[in-house]
């Protein structure tokens, strides 16, 4: 069969900048930081005492109390963001074939919160195993996709994708392939991550991955700044409804953008450090461009992985300059992690939404918290520092790279009907 065009027809977001896509975009456009001191546990003895947490988030405002209790937070946010996207896409259950609507969902870590609590209870007890029957179904990575399908009756392909911080982008690429090659008409995709607890903060701290700027959390996430000292954990979820162009046309859906293509690669280099020349990052951007049938000069914006780590930010920019050559100087580059923190396995979902909204509004969200230039970075590049910039965005690349050396990039472009 002829590969089908894939378009975006629904969005949902639950982020440290707000509990809806509209709030998220408003925060991005205005350069707001979502950081603050951690409220979810006592951080007194931790090297990092701040993160980008969700604001005023009460799952029972969206979910029945009994339902909510059976879900770890990453599934709660998945279901809530997916609900927003499904509503936004105006899917009329009576006029679509539910067998052809799938869910491909990502998380980097899964249901860590309940797992840790149950282990703690067991190991501090008298040895009697009193594990909840919901321990496993709350923990497993695929359960978010399962819960979304049960809520809406979507009986199409349904599974989870994991590649650490590239997870959601890999999920979006899987969704693209499923629709492009006719395995489904519509896929709810994206990712969620809610793991701001003792084990994750402590674990990332031990890796020296997190910023320790406790004296000023709001400016801690500062990608490309000379004084960057690590990433800031974020939490939340992003959901996208992807659909074949014909299907969207037939039901008169609003089309935000077209998902042009995607690519995936590995660094094959180190557990956590990026390849110093960004070899995997070069490969993945080249593959995404090729898959989308676009040239470097067709791209106006790159939402970079840019986590605010000393090594990662440099390697990614080297890769961009290698792939884009002189066209790199025409690009807007920004790391929205400066505002949201790093949502790990969900990053690719909320950052894809940032790309789609940038295309929709002709506005590139900024890299906030820039104080001092890093002499290792080419000053002729436009990092969209501190303030959003207006420009037409014809096409935007979303880069994500995960521990393990996984790289995934997707390209969204302005939708033009044939």
């Amino acid at each position: 069969m002829q590969p089908r065009r894939v378009v975006v027809t629904g969005l949902g977001a639950l982020t440290p900048l707000g509990n809806s896509t509209a709030d998220y975009w408003q925060g991005l456009a205005n350069g707001v930081s979502g950081a603050g001191f951690i409220k979810q546990f006592d951080t007194a003895k931790f090297k990092t005492r701040f993160a980008c947490e969700l604001k005023d988030f009460d799952p029972t405002r969206y979910l029945d109390k009994k339902e909510a209790r059976k879900m770890d937070p990453f599934t709660q946010t998945a279901v809530i963001a997916a609900d927003e996207a499904v509503l936004d896409a105006k899917i009329d259950r009576n006029s679509v074939n539910l067998d052809r609507i799938g869910v491909i969902w990502a998380s980097g870590i899964g249901g860590m919160i309940g797992f840790c609590n149950e282990l703690k209870e067991f190991y501090t007890g008298d040895g009697t195993p009193r594990f909840s029957p919901f321990l496993i179904p709350r923990l497993i990575l695929d359960i978010a996709a399962g819960q979304i399908s049960m809520r809406h009756g979507f009986r199409g392909p349904n599974f989870a994708v994991a590649s650490a911080c590239a997870s959601a982008t890999n999920a979006i690429i899987e969704a693209l392939h499923h629709i492009r090659y006719g395995l489904a008409d519509m896929i709810i995709t994206g990712g969620s991550e809610n793991v701001i607890n003792e084990a994750c903060v402590g674990g990332f701290n031990a890796m020296k991955a997190l910023s320790e700027r406790n004296e000023d959390p709001l400016t801690a996430s500062r990608p490309f700044d000379l004084d960057r000292d690590g990433f800031v954990m974020g939490e939340g979820a992003g959901a996208l409804v992807l659909e074949s162009y014909e299907h969207a046309l037939e039901r008169g859906a609003h089309i935000y953008a077209e998902l042009g293509g995607g690519g995936a690669s590995a660094d094959a280099y180190h557990l956590t450090a990026p390849h110093p020349e960004g070899l995997g990052a070069r490969l993945v951007m080249n593959r995404a461009l090729e898959d989308a049938g676009l040239l470097p000069s067709d791209i106006d914006y790159i939402n970079v992985h840019g986590t605010s780590t000393p090594l990662g930010d440099i390697a990614e920019i080297k890769a961009i300059q290698h792939v884009f050559g002189d066209a790199a100087y025409q690009l807007n580059i920004s790391s929205t992690k400066s505002m949201t923190g790093h949502l790990l396995g969900a990053a690719g979902a909320i950052e894809s939404i940032a790309c789609i909204k940038a295309i929709e509004h002709g506005l590139v969200p900024p890299t906030i918290n820039h104080f001092t230039d890093d002499p290792q970075l080419d000053p002729k590049l436009n990092f969209t520092f501190n303030v959003a910039q207006q420009r037409e965005v014809r096409a935007a690349v979303c880069n994500t790279f995960g521990f393990g050396g996984h790289n995934a990039s997707v390209i969204f472009k302005k939708f033009v009907a044939e």
Partner: protein
Amino acid sequence: MSDIASRVKKIIIDKLGVEEAEVTPEASFTNDLGADSLDTVELIMEFEKEFNISIPDEQAETITTVGQAVAYLEEHVK
């Protein structure tokens, strides 16, 4: 209502998300209170924790209503 009965009732309301009025002695966990097989296992576990006893599986399988739970616990809790 006995102390045990009120504690049982509280657990059921909390875990199954039902209204107090629904939790009658005759109410069946699965048929009347919307519990599935996992919910039922969890309920038994919560009774064990609350009353610090161990309910063997073959006994647990016979506890299907609110009244049966209260009766069992009244008999076995010291």
